[in-house]
Amino acid sequence: LSALTPRRSSFAVALIVLPLLAAGRENSHPAHTRVSLVAEEGWIQPGRPFWVAVRLEMDPGWHTYWKNPGDSGAPTRVEWRLPEGFSAGPLRWPAPRRLGEPPVVNFGYEGKVALLSEVTPPAKLSARSATLRASVKWMECEKECLPGEDDVELVLRVKPDVPPLDPEAAEFFAAMRRRFPRKSLEWKFLAQTRGENIRLRIFPSSRERWAAMTFFPERRGVIDHSAPQGFGRTGGGYRLDLPMAEAVAPPDALQGVLTVERYAEEGGGAEAFEVDTPVEPGPEPAPGLWLFLGGSAVLVAAVLWIVRHKKGGRS
């Protein structure tokens, strides 16, 4: 396996070769989701932080949830139990997908997903190996939902020297990281209230064309999860009209993940960005946006009808 060969579907390939990697013990569990731990590096060097993946593999048709599960469900939770002196960083979540149909839309994962955390070992370690343990709790749903729970562990050797690069592990982690939202200084985001919507304006870094965009709010109660997101072009970029959740006041800021998809004929694929932008008060179009839109539709229809009717009368 060569890590240098560029691959389109390297993520899928990485998942196929994954069983060859030094994966953690996989506990048997009568659930529809299997959990395991995978480390990026072959051993622990004292004081050197390394990444660990909490891998969840769902049966076909089953899904688990993102940190904001959407209209129902619950996020996966990972509770680390690490040897003394070790610490784990915050959990990093790949960009989710919209699952289900209105009135209930969820944000989550199907198939395989890996949640990443950076583990820092202490600078001094006398033991020859260390056991990383995690209690993982999740909600798995198909038509019905079941809470799942598993304790997983991964034993790693401790060696004084820098672990060598393992091309397979490196490729697996690189493929997983491509699914993570990234911070971008080049992409610009602006949010403004528009009646009952928040209009998120998106200014990509290049003139590349995008086929679709979807916003995933980090917190519940900000936007209506199941409502369609009005996607379109706007001066110099794109826009998403996000119907607000019913709340007392519009939010001060819009935080979450934006996924952007390429046209299939341009190679397809998607990217994801972190969004954190203040919500500015915008122009107030009408107290009831629907009244306004409905009225416009009736007017336009009436004008069209009159014009056509007149034409018809003349001929």
Binding site: V104, C145, G294, A301, H309
Partner: protein, 204 residues
């Protein structure tokens, strides 16, 4: 012909507006929409029958882990008891479609209610999901509180701990209790709308 076309356009606009309004359900501060449903004993209940009382609507599916959290811990029944003792009418509504999780025959329901020690005033059957969709019920549980004038004063979650862990019940802020207590004391409701959490309602 053209008049028909115009009519079709107007109709489409109205239907679209109605569909959007329906997905969200009734607004807090507005009259709660009326309905009539049959309970597990075969008795009919109309919301209008209970003008003059506070009414709590609870969407329920006993197969759902979030509902189990509140019934296995006794939390839901305790709240049902506590509120109905204050003349609140508590209506549990099952919108699970036939063949889906949480759907039972009236006979099975009587057994389930006994097992669960439900203290609701009535458990209403809504297998076609009409009332669930009328209220925009998304999850089990999904809670609504209606005041004696028939105005919706609360909709959303049962409490502020969106988990399936029964250990989270004691430390949670129960929004339904809070809304009832505040309203009965003549105070404004501090949190009239929250995000419901739970399993999706198993509509057909």
């Amino acid at each position: 012909m053209r008049a028909k076309k115009l009519f079709a356009v107007v109709q489409a606009a109205v239907l679209l507006a109605a569909a959007c309004a329906e997905a969200k359900g009734p607004a807090v501060g507005k009259p709660a929409p009326g309905f009539t449903l049959t309970d597990v004993e075969g008795e009919k209940h109309s919301l209008g029958d209970y003008k003059g009382n506070y009414v709590v609507l609870e969407w329920v599916n006993h197969g759902c882990p979030f509902v189990k959290k509140h019934y296995n811990s006794g939390n839901m029944q305790a709240l049902q008891k506590e509120t109905t003792e204050k003349d609140v009418v508590w209506l549990s509504i099952a919108s699970s479609a036939e063949g889906k999780q949480g759907h039972y025959t009236p006979q099975e329901w009587k057994k389930v209610n006994e097992e669960k020690k439900s203290a609701a005033s009535a458990v209403l059957l809504d297998a076609d999901g009409k009332v669930g969709k009328l209220y925009g019920a998304k999850t089990t549980p999904h809670m609504y509180v209606i005041d004696p004038q028939g105005v919706l004063i609360y909709k959303g979650a049962i409490d502020d701990k969106p988990t399936t862990d029964a250990e989270d019940v004691p430390g949670a802020r129960n929004y339904v209790r809070a809304a009832l207590e505040e309203s009965m004391a003549g105070k404004p409701i501090s949190e009239p709308v929250t995000e419901a959490y739970g399993c999706s309602v198993k509509y057909k």
